[in-house]
Symmetry: C2
Subunit: 479 residues, 2 copies
Amino acid sequence: MAKKEEFVKDIANIDEDFAKWYTDIVRKADLADYADTKGCIAIKPYGYAIWENIQNYADKLFKETGVKNVYFPILIPDSLLQKEKDHVEGFAPEVAYVTEAGGEKLDEKLCIRPTSETMFSTLYAKWLKSWRDLPYVYNQWCNVLRWEKETRPFLRSREFLWQEGHTIHETEKEAKERTIQMLEIYTKVVEELLAIPVLRGRKTEKEKFAGADETYTIETLTRDGRALQSGTSHYFGQNFTKPFEVKFQNREGKEEYAYQTSWGISTRLIGAVIMGHGDERGLKLPPKVAPIQVRIIPIAMHKEGVLEKAEELKKSLEKDFRIEVDSRDQVSPGFKFNDCELKGIPVRIEIGPRDIENGECILVRRDTFEKVVVKLDELNTKLKEMLDDIQQNMFNMCKKRLEEKTQIATNMDEFTKKINENQGYIKAMWCGNVECENKIKELTGAHSRCIPFEQEKLSDKCVCCGKEARYMVVWGRQY
Amino acid sequence: MAKKEEFVKDIANIDEDFAKWYTDIVRKADLADYADTKGCIAIKPYGYAIWENIQNYADKLFKETGVKNVYFPILIPDSLLQKEKDHVEGFAPEVAYVTEAGGEKLDEKLCIRPTSETMFSTLYAKWLKSWRDLPYVYNQWCNVLRWEKETRPFLRSREFLWQEGHTIHETEKEAKERTIQMLEIYTKVVEELLAIPVLRGRKTEKEKFAGADETYTIETLTRDGRALQSGTSHYFGQNFTKPFEVKFQNREGKEEYAYQTSWGISTRLIGAVIMGHGDERGLKLPPKVAPIQVRIIPIAMHKEGVLEKAEELKKSLEKDFRIEVDSRDQVSPGFKFNDCELKGIPVRIEIGPRDIENGECILVRRDTFEKVVVKLDELNTKLKEMLDDIQQNMFNMCKKRLEEKTQIATNMDEFTKKINENQGYIKAMWCGNVECENKIKELTGAHSRCIPFEQEKLSDKCVCCGKEARYMVVWGRQY
């Protein structure tokens, strides 16, 4: 036990300094590290394997709905970026530019994509002829750069990995349906794979994507009650297709501009998992996304047959589970238990000479720390059940916290008091004016998260100005 | 038939203008298109799906040997690039630099990775402590930029996609084994997946990677007898680990520099497939890598039950094959046949009212154009056999051409005559001096491809200077 306490000291106390706890987990659970390039991170194998699991899960869902993957250039001529006014205003301050290449100064500087609406629109304009060609439902998994001033691993990094889907359609209706369809897929990824419940709705005018008509969002809540925008889907109408001349001959033989969407999720989701599930002992990974679902720790490893039995178990289970044996001989079992917890491995199996004699082993759950003795011949079934149960329980735990941290406010005193005493979401009515939105931000530090799909009428009046309310909005402080 | 001839006119004659034929195929088979960014291409769904199949196949083989995927920053501080002399000399002329970002001029310009030895070495130096940590066997799938003057889709593009593996090891022996092991995996990818036989060997001093001790290569031969470097694996010794201080405490408790390798394959392989297999009718894809293995073309589609039967067949086969129905109603079956051939789909199925009546359909092979009538209840089995046979036959056809285009020369007159009359590989003895290598290049346009693993003694004398020969080298003109 002495060893354990000492070990846990290496990470900051989660309730005292959540921000430090977070970066400690990122580095000590071996997810990522800072690189020499300021504001960028190096994603290490354990962190990248989480991303691969997210990619595989999402990509399969995308393809089932007809999404096709492509890869378009990272460098965008500056003149293309300038074509849509709102878009360039929103992104220009964060853009990184290539100005020299091949030993020469470039004639026109090239922007490194912060997002690719402009590149996709340019190419779509080149290819699109007839309504028969539509829809284009393309996506790319790639890196993007946004020159953020303050960075935090996974949550806000100057370079990050994401997927960006860009579609064009014959009709407004079809484009709007695609916008919502992708939000539903994102909901599935976050709730079913990552075991985090989401809040869904539409962004306000102030918070929507630069150039969009409508932005839809899924929001998650961190353990310390802050909001994380975790995926967005945008409906553009013809905002880009007009300046970029993405037009087609419609069924009536007339020229028409296409209707456009885009949508993305990123490595930020790894941050959502860390902040959504982690606890005082470290990371806690939902089984479906965990790179290692089960780790076997041999006890009294020097005794004859122990390591062999552990390896034999692994062999018999590796077809059904992502499993490994911790056979390091320079550290104690206690150290290995801690390491399992720090890394958030859903289940550890302890097996020693006496267990082998009895034909059993001990399973320890990461979510509840519950220990169960299991007969070796039932191990496969029991493990399966336990992992399913952990996945569900982790979702439930998050859901419970979400409910505890969602409060209602009908005036600004209440708003401020509640968000300060129990940081989380505040549901409140809003008149629809950006002035009130700005004032709420000023007074409480909370941004509007979204206008949820499921509207409730909490009162008739705007929480801020007292005038007639138009929407119920969920507010929260954010990372 | 008139229609077909007209259609084929759209692509250049393969024997008259191979270079134009190549870019025609790239664009008309919908693999990729030029983008507004000079020297860069947009990889379209059909081209990207080939890359995904290559990625999946290779990534699985990598992981079976313990490779772990990571993602490190694309931007490398210029000072890091400068640390290894040969490396920077080799790459500096092709580097693109970010000099402005977030609205400000940067203090130190940032290089966009042309390759990541310097980034990996920096991070490895930070993490490595003891021999117990070794080996690091990391890989990333990513984009890189090299500012080439002349570009050609897939073969040489300013931005391209690849994987770059970077490993460090405790001993020279282990590192050298990894270098060769990865070359063997690349051989498998190209020979078994892409059905193209490779030439394998070591690059000469002149042709090796900037900073490497030894570079190993797999080379493929195009239909017009040019060589394509298709994958390389490098052994670095301690060339990077010394300047980057990648050191560890060895088993004797002493400080030692690690031994390093790197290895990569890229979207250039798509070019190798086009140039290796294509013919006068278009692209020809090996079944294992083809995004669409089988396309069903309904004949007399307007007749009752035809389209339904085609869809039914597709449903019954889609579990085992990548298959689709061409149900376009605005084009003729003849157009669809041509389109199938242009896109290189290995097998097309023709099915019309009479076939349905007889409980059969017609299979047409892309490699031999052979037509076979098959009973519908045997379709699954016959298709499987046919696809396997096509895969093997395509490899054999390439192998035969490779043999026909590999010639021996014992003096320069013979060398020049043979390479001009039947462009391809020339096997010739070499003294080992770079002067002869340069002179051969000057006289014939041929670079040394490699010093093959399988050496033959063709004569005692260097083909160029007549002095004592050290190696048999394979030479060839390249893309």
